[in-house]
Amino acid sequence: MTPRLPESPTQRISRENELLFFYRGKPFKGLEGDTIATALYSNGVRIFSRSMKYHRPRGLYNLDGYSSHCLVTVDGEPNVRGCATPLRQGMWVTPQNVLGSPRWDLMGLMQFFSFAMPVGFYYKAFHKPSWVWPFAQAVIRRAAGLGRIDPEMPEGVYQNRYYNCEVCIIGGGLAGMEAALAAAEGGVRVILLERRDHLGGDLAYRVTRSNEGIPPYRRAAMLAEAVSACENVTVLLCTSATAIYQSNHVTAVKRGGAGDPYRETYLEVRARSVVVATGAIERPLLFSNNDLPGIMQGSCAHRLARVYGIKPGNRMVVSGCHDGMLEMAADLAELGIEIVAVADGRSSGFDTELISNLHRKGIPFLPGTMARKAIGFKRLKGVQLAPTFGNGRKRWYSCDVLAASAGEAPLSQLLQVAGAKMAYDSAAGQFLPGEFPPGIHAAGKVTAARGEETIAAQGKLAGLMALQDLGLGRTSHIRQVREILDVIEKRPAGRHWTAPPVGSRKCFLCFDEDVTTDQVRDAIDQGFDQSELVKRYTAVGTGPSQSYLSGTNLPLLLADQRGLEPGAVLPTTVRPPVFPTSLAALGGRRYTSSKRTPLHEKQAQLGACFRLTGVWERAGSFADAGLSQEVENVRKNVGFIDVSTLGKFRLFGRDAVKLLNRVYAGNMETVTEGRLKYAAMCNEQGVIIDDGVVTRMGESDYFFTTSSLRAGNTLEWLAFHSKEEDWEAHLVNLTDAMAAVNLAGPRSREVLARLVDADCSNEVFPYMAVRRMKLCGEVDALVMRVGFVGELSFEIHVPASYGAALQDALLDAGKPYCIRPFGLDAQSVLRLEKGHVIIGTDTDNHSTLHDIGLSWAWDRKKAGNQTVGAPALRFTETQKHRQKLVGFTMNEAFRTPSDGSIVVADGTVKGRVTSSRFSPTLGRSIGLALVDPDLAVMGGTLEFYTDGRLNRKGLPEIKTFRGTIVPVPFYDPEGKRLRG
């Protein structure tokens, strides 16, 4: 570690706390307060990375994470912005995209072939002859990318936070802090997001007094103190805003630091009003070799020295286009750095005080001059300065650091994402955002404001305007600030550089993608003459630094090359996130949620194996029994299954029956108390979407069930029709309020009889009847005689809190009858044997009631109800092309076509198997299939094909097997068991 500069009040390093870290496996020392990049820089590391395409060496360029130069891998996490990530004890830092080291990168040879890789190179090479491409592609692919994904990267702790506030301010510089203070006066909740770990913006490291008095860093500290003292202002440091979505929805990422248990926090802020005070960034100057290590932004050099106490170099040349560079040059000279020369692309419009400052220090100042060429191989050796316009004298200067910029550009990306339009402002020489959406304000350098007082007044104004959005503004205050703004002297900005000197080579417009100005020219020649087209063709601005560095230069260069006015070509669309966001932060803490039935724990005790079906966890099978045992027990003795997941609804009100008649195909006027009616629901295409049973509980009072997966949709569905017609019908969703069990099997009546006081005989309680009963003498139960599994069975509905007790009672009462639970797998076999369809499994989005043999569930005479889907049922009834659901048995008794098998005939697909199982009851394989109408003939043969493995030639072995279409149900066709 080289010695740091003497202490100064702007420094943010702690000299007492040395931190040990590892770079390329070797130990290094940095200081608390350092970023990874500054720690490396203080240790003499000058080459941080290699560029993506040509593997050119890249060094420190920016200190806010806006360039890809400093990307490193840290503790397994790739593409970490070394220049904006605080150093931590024990960090393991590795360089990226190098074969060897950044200094000695074998892939560095690439840059010598760059002449052979003009724009659009990949589109015009390697495709002829065609066999070349796979090889070329493999090579290109191997060289692609920057960081490496590490599966061993520690999991880390991440979180999501959601904030609500009235005013959200983005940027904690002078304008942002003034805005926060002004908004806080209104007594509303204010959130201030600042990407650095301290407030103050560029004021925080500047020491040069302006006319008014106190040094900028003092002013920043005082303001920061005032902001922190406001109880209604929440300051979030280390927080980079990533987007402003519609309705002032701000997203951001907070980098975890000392005292923050989270590695990163993703946050969303819902604000009524947003103030964007993100400041400006220096836009790169375009000249030959403008990417050499040693060339950096002026603010980068300035902050290295003032914040981190690091000398950027020994001999420094400055080539700028804005006053900040002049101030920096004088300030660095103060700190003992030799400033060889200061060039400024402008010929007028400077701050004269800053120039006399330079003269006092004996630093040569060259107006109307800028860097034209840099030389050096792995680091900067010298710079050629030349007049901005025309062919004047060129001078070479040897140096090891060049601070270069073509002026400032607003950090307007967030505003652009929010919907602001960019327009060229020739006075400022910048593209400036305008036409803000409602509730969005901007202040400070992002609007090209200059001078502390202007920026402060703008911030204050923005804060007041935000209050005005909330109806809290005081017009008189706003007027006062406006008057102040009007009075402040407006100095002309001077003529700005808009185009690079002609004929320069290796002049990089986009560092990420190694796009040079020559390549852009070639792209224009080929017809890619708009920003978006050039972006797509050359990939300019699509790398990790997005459009921060190339965003302004691209449209200006395009306009210049096409002979248009600057501003005739607009910048490309900015896409969020404007700060790359890690998936881990977005994901936050992992939550998974699913619903469990009231019997869940009890079922688990019986060895249930659960699976997720829709939102529910359901018992698929029980560990101690085989599938056929579960099936046989239902057929021979008695079993029970948890059906609490069924949709259960009460519907009451004057128009309840009208509503039922609207959504169900059958006639609901015929539903009576004590009786169940099977009801099918179609959509407007006549396609069946749900079924269940309906019963009447009283005057205009109904209870009905839906299939497990449709409960939510059915609720919406009924609510919609009720709303559309303005009917009086009240729907109560009892799905979660009630537990239900289906008790099935020849002995089920005996089991039920032991639990209830009522007569359960077939005469009193026949098939499709429903009774209210008291279970065990105290629990109100609704018992329905239904038969999904094809046996005598009772569906018992009890309040959810009794669900667990119900299972205990059943097990107890059923013990003498060999009761045992069964799961979804057994139910699936049982219902298939009975030929009952499962909507969505045996039907698809084409299956009308007619196609699956349920035409009887539609009452065509039911008039005046505008029954959903009725016209379609009418029109599709006699259509000839429709696939039909048929039952089949397999010709080989034990061969079951697995789910997903298809029906084929003459080598073409004619349908598919929807369910097929081996039936333990029948001793053979059975199934249902949706087949083309010409095959749907009773007694006909079906040919099945199940997908196979591909052989070495990539071909499957096509083996088919056969089944025969038979009548359904397969089991108990007369329904004796059901009704017995």
Partner: protein, 85 residues
Amino acid sequence: MSFLLTCPNCGPRNIYEFRFGGEVKTRPDENTVSAEDWADYVYLSKNVCGVQKEWWYHAKGCGTWFAVERDTRDNLPVVKEENEG
């Protein structure tokens, strides 16, 4: 964008709490409609590039259906159609 929609019960809420319920259409009379007209009613949409009247349902909220006018060019609701749930 994550725009806000104003539920007549709950006020402005995140759009992802709602379910879009289709353009407001008039159902043809079931007894007189022809097969073609019914298919048109079922399948065709106006796809207005501008303000259209449509149904929304506050699915992850109070369960209210309501009709609003929304501009499909910027997703901003125009006028609230109905107030009661």
